[in-house]
């Protein structure tokens, strides 16, 4: 009974929060409601017995990703409301057709998955964290290492992209001055 009440409560809260995120014109409201929705989603993971996944959801999404967005928004004019022009109606039509297809496939999924066999079973004797560690460091070791390399590449890429010419405001310069900056750096490279 508790599970049912918790499921419907958090389902309502999550849908409401994400609804605000996609509907609001204020970027700060969108950011805060997205962070709240992420926390509510971790409640589903705890309900499903995936404790470690729930903790990772809170730490990575609400801690790291949302903090990164909050820092990134300092560079944009996030005080003003967003002005958006009307989008392409034909594209909307095609994409809503795709959504309908996805919905049908998701409702079919339990039928297709009825004869799926269990590859790495859950051991209730261990806790969820220990259980995940056993599978992650044996069967999924190579994807795990690849994910680590990918995160390293993303980190270096983010630093190089965002940190380039942090001391100069390129928007305040004219086009000629921006071109001059680029040619200057190319000349420096040639000298080296």
């Amino acid at each position: 009974m508790f599970e049912v009440i918790a499921f419907y409560l958090f389902a309502f809260l999550t849908i409401a929060m994400f609804g605000i995120t996609v509907k609001t014109k204020n970027p700060l409201y969108a950011l805060s409601s997205l962070a709240a929705g992420m926390i509510f989603i971790s409640a589903f993971f705890f309900l499903l017995g995936a404790d470690f996944l729930g903790a990772v959801q809170i730490i990575v999404y609400t801690g790291a990703v949302m903090a990164l967005y909050a820092f990134g928004m300092m560079f944009f004019d996030s005080i003003n409301d967003i002005k958006e022009s009307a989008s392409n109606p034909k594209l909307t039509f095609v994409l809503s057709g795709l959504i309908a297809l996805i919905v049908v496939m998701i409702f079919m999924a339990p039928v297709i998955g009825a004869n799926a066999e269990v590859v790495s079973p859950i051991n209730p004797a261990y806790g969820n964290t220990q259980d995940i560690g056993m599978v992650l460091f044996t069967k999924y070791l190579i994807p795990f290492e690849l994910a680590a390399v990918m995160l390293l590449v993303a980190m270096i890429g983010g630093i190089i992209l965002a940190g380039k010419k942090m001391d100069v405001s390129i928007t305040a310069l004219s086009d000629q001055e921006v071109d001059k900056l680029h040619t200057d750096t190319e000349i420096k490279k040639d000298i080296k």
Binding site: V22, M38, L68, F107, P143, V178
Partner: protein
């Protein structure tokens, strides 16, 4: 009355549709990133639910890798957005359009 796999999958679909609606309607690139995060989270709920109801840990593993991909996507995407905003002082999607067609 108890919660079944179908309830979780329906919830996952609803959240995914909210994210897809945002991705279709929004033209601000930052809001498009937010919609992408919503869609990734919707898939994660489905993965965790299937993992529980089939007694298989593989779903949770995939959810972890999706979280790792989302984190690196945000790092690179925000770097590119900041670079674009420095040059053009807008992050509207229509400002990316350089060809007339």
């Amino acid at each position: 009355m108890s919660i079944t796999l179908n309830d979780y999958l329906i919830l996952s679909t609803i959240i995914f549709m909210i994210g897809m609606y945002g991705a279709m309607r929004r033209t601000n690139l930052l809001m498009l990133f937010f919609s992408t995060e919503i869609m990734l989270n919707a898939v994660n709920i489905g993965m965790a639910a299937i993992s529980k109801f089939h007694g298989d840990l593989t779903g949770q593993m995939f959810a972890f890798f999706i979280i790792a991909i989302a984190a690196s996507e945000v790092a690179i995407g925000l770097g590119l957005l900041i670079l674009w905003f420095k040059r053009h002082s807008t992050i509207d999607l229509s400002s990316l359009q350089s060809m007339k067609g």
